[in-house]
C-alpha cells in the first residue's frame, strides 16, 4: 500500500499561511492587541515577500513570528473557528474528491504542510487523512514564542520527512504520490514516484512540463 502526500495551502485550499495568522491577529482579547498584531504583521510584509522569493523555510520562520505573544489557550480555542472561517470555505471540492479517491484506492493519506499543526488536525478530521505533518509552534509559559519547533516543515525538509514517513511505514517511495502547488515543494515532488503539480504557478508549471508530471488545475472551480 503506498501513501499520498498532500501539501495543503494552495493545493487543497485557496488560502495560504498568512490567512490564519491574520484571523488570529484580528481576534485577540481586545481591539488594541489586534491592532498591534496587525500592525506588526503589516510591518513584516516586505521581508515576508522577499523571504518567499528566496527560501520557504525563512518565510515560514518569519511568518510564525507573528504568533509571538498569543496564548496557547486562545490559539487552540479559536482553532475550530479559524478553520471553519478561513480554511474550510477555501477548500477545493476537487481536492477533497482526490483525497477521497486516494483513500478509496487504499493509500495512506498524509497532509504535509507549513501550516500550524492544530489547524491541520481540523482538516485531517474533515477529510479523514491518516497522518499530519505540520509546523509546531513553540510555547513558553503558555504563550507562543514565535519560533517553530524542529523539524521545520518546508522545502527540502518536506522531502526528508516524507522519506522518513515512508520508511517508517514500509512504503516504496516509487509507488507513493505527492501533490503540491509550489516550486518550493519540488524536493517533495521529486522524492516520490508519482508527483503531481496542483494549481501550479508559472515556475512550477514549467518544471512540471519539463519533467512531464501530471498537472491538475482547479482554480476556475468553486470551493467545496
Amino acid at each position: 500500500m503506498p501513501a499520498s502526500y498532500f501539501d495543503v495551502d494552495g493545493t487543497l485550499t485557496r488560502t495560504n499561511l498568512v490567512h490564519p495568522l491574520l484571523f488570529y491577529a484580528m481576534n485577540q482579547q481586545n481591539p488594541l492587541r489586534s491592532v498591534g498584531h496587525l500592525f506588526k504583521t503589516a510591518a513584516r510584509a516586505p521581508r515576508l515577500l522577499l523571504a518567499e522569493q528566496l527560501d520557504r523555510g525563512s518565510f515560514n520562520e518569519l511568518l510564525f513570528e507573528g504568533y509571538a505573544g498569543m496564548t496557547e489557550d486562545r490559539l487552540l480555542e479559536l482553532a475550530d473557528e479559524a478553520f471553519s472561517t478561513v480554511i474550510r470555505p477555501g477548500l477545493y471540492k476537487e481536492g477533497l474528491s482526490l483525497v477521497a479517491r486516494a483513500k478509496a484506492a487504499g493509500h495512506r493519506v498524509v497532509l504535509i504542510s507549513g501550516s500550524p499543526d492544530f489547524l491541520l488536525q481540523r482538516l485531517q478530521k474533515l477529510c479523514e487523512a491518516d497522518d499530519v505533518i505540520g509546523n509546531r509552534l513553540e510555547f513558553k509559559d503558555g504563550k507562543a514564542t514565535g519560533r517553530i519547533k524542529r523539524p521545520l516543515v518546508a522545502g527540502p525538509e518536506k522531502a526528508r520527512l516524507i522519506k522518513a514517513h515512508a520508511k517508517q511505514h514500509g512504503f516504496d517511495l516509487e509507488e507513493c504520490a505527492a501533490y503540491s502547488d509550489s516550486l518550493s515543494d519540488v524536493p517533495m515532488l521529486t522524492v516520490v514516484g508519482r508527483p503531481c503539480a496542483v494549481n501550479p504557478d508559472v515556475r512550477l508549471k514549467a518544471m512540471a512540463t519539463t519533467h512531464r508530471w501530471p498537472v491538475l488545475d482547479w482554480r476556475k472551480g468553486k470551493a467545496a
Partner: protein
Amino acid sequence: MSSSSTVHTLDSDSLPRYLMSGDQILFEHLPVGTRCIYAKPPLVGLKDPDAAIRYALNHPENSDPLHAMLKPGMKVTIAFDDISIPLPPMKRPDIRQRVIEIVLEILDDHGVDDIHLIAALSVHRRMTADEIKWVVGDKVFNQYWPDRLYNHDAEDKDNMVDIGETDRGEAVDCNRRAAESDLLIYVSMNLVPMSGGHKSVAVGLCGYKALRAHHNPKVMSSKESYMDPASHGLHESIWRQGRMLQKEVKVFQIETTINNKMFDGQLDFLTKREEDMSDFEWTKMRGLKATLDRLPDDARQALFYASPAHYELTGVWAGETEAVHEKVLQKSYEQYMVPVKGQADILLSGLAFVCPYNVHSYLNPLLVQVMAQGYYHNLYRGAPLLKKGGTLIIAHPFKDKFDPVHHAPYIEFVHRLLPETKDAYTLHKKYERAFAEDPTYIEMYRHGHAYHGSHPFFMWYWGEAGRQHIGRVIVAGAQDDYMCELFGYEPAANVQEALEMAYDTAPRSPQITMLHTPPILMCDVEADAQIAQTSGAGSSGTGTSGAGAAA
C-alpha cells in the same frame, strides 16, 4: 501496369506519390510494380438531409416510429457520439446537430420536456464546451448546457448503475440518467464499421469494469479484423452487453453514415490520385508542402484543424439497434471497401496527423502504434493486407512528444512501463488496474480533459493483433531512435532507406503495396491461397507480384 479507380500499379513513368507524414507531406518515387490502393470516390451525399432524418424517424427499422413512443412527462435522454468521430471534426452543421434538433422538435411536440443530452465518451477525454457546441449547434447548446447537456463521467460512481453480468460473466453498467430514462435515444455517426450498433450505448455510456470485458489482450489479440463486426470477439462481447442492457433500458438508435469527403475546397487535391491531379493542383500541393515544411509543429496542426472535413450524410436509419446497424454496415462497406487481390510482402503507408484520440492534440508515439498496428492493420475483411511476418513501413516523425493534458497517463505508460515490458498480458495483469484507479488520473479525467488511466493500455491491446502478425515495423523519418526501440520499431531516415531495409528480409520479388490514406479505406483482401484456389494452379491474381527493385 494495371489501373482502376482504387488500385493503381506504378511503372517507370509514374509520378511520385505523396504521403502524409504527421502534418507534413512527402513526395516519394516508389519502386516499379508498387501497388497503390486508394479510397473510393465519395458517395453522393443526400440532397435533403433533414428530410432523410425525418423519414428515418417516422419509418424506423423493427420499431415503432419515434413519435409513437412518446408520452407527455416522460424522461428522455439523448446520447451522442463524442469528438472521436468524425475525423477531423466536420464543418457545421454537424450531422449530430441536424438529428438532435429534429428529435428535440418531435419531443417538444409531444410534451416531453425532461430531457438530458449526454456526450457518450466512455473513458475518452471530456469534450470542452466549445467542442460540444460545435457538435450540437448553438441553439441546443444555449438551451441545455451545462445542466442538461454534459459529458458522461464513467468515474462518477453515484451516477453509474450496475445492470448485471452477461451469461459469460461480462459486467454491464451504464450512466444512471440514461439507464433510468423512459427512453434512451442514441445518435451515432458511423465513420468505420467498428463503430455504432450496441457499441454506442454499451461502450459509450459504460464504466471501466464493463470495458475490461473486451478491452483486454485476450480478446484484442484475435486474428480476425475488429473492423469486421461479424467475426471479431470484441463485437460479440459488446453485443452480449448491449442485449442485456436493452432488457433494462428502452433504446431508440439513430445511426448515420457519411461519405469520405475529408478535404474539400482549397485542400480537395489531397483526396485525389496523383494521376488525376491537374498541373495547378500539383502546384498547390508543392506550395502546401513548402508552407508546412516552414511552419512550427503547432501551427501546422492548427492549419489542418482550421479546415474542417466536408463529410456529407449518405444514409440515416433509426429504430431497433441491430436492425439499424445492419443497414449502416452495408452503407459503410459501400463507401470504404476496396477489393484487393493478394497480400503484400511490404506495406507502406503515411500516417496523417489525426486519429480518434488526438483531436486538437499531437499524434503521440502510442497513438502512432495504435494507428499502424491497430487501425490500419485491421482495415480489412478476409485476410490482412500484409502477409504474416511481412514488413510494415510507416512514414511519421515519431517524436517523443505527448499532449500533457489529454495524454497524461500515456506518458507514464510509455516511459515507465514499456522499458520494462511490451507484453500485453503482463501490462494488463500488473499495471492496468493501478493506472485505472490512480487518483491523479481519475481526477484528470473527471475534471480536466485527460483520457482515463486505463486508456493507454487499451491502445496497446488494440495493436496486439497487428504486433503478432507483422514481422517488422520500420518508421521512415523517425526522429527519436529511443522511442523506436521502446516500441520495437526500426528507424529509417526516409522512405527510400526504409524500403532498402525492408528488402533485407523480403522475398526475392516482394509485392510492395502503398495504402494511400487519407481518406481512410478498408480492403476486402483475397489472400494468395484463395486466388490460387479459385483460379487454378499457375495463375496469379492482379497485382500479386511486384517488380522487386527500387525505382
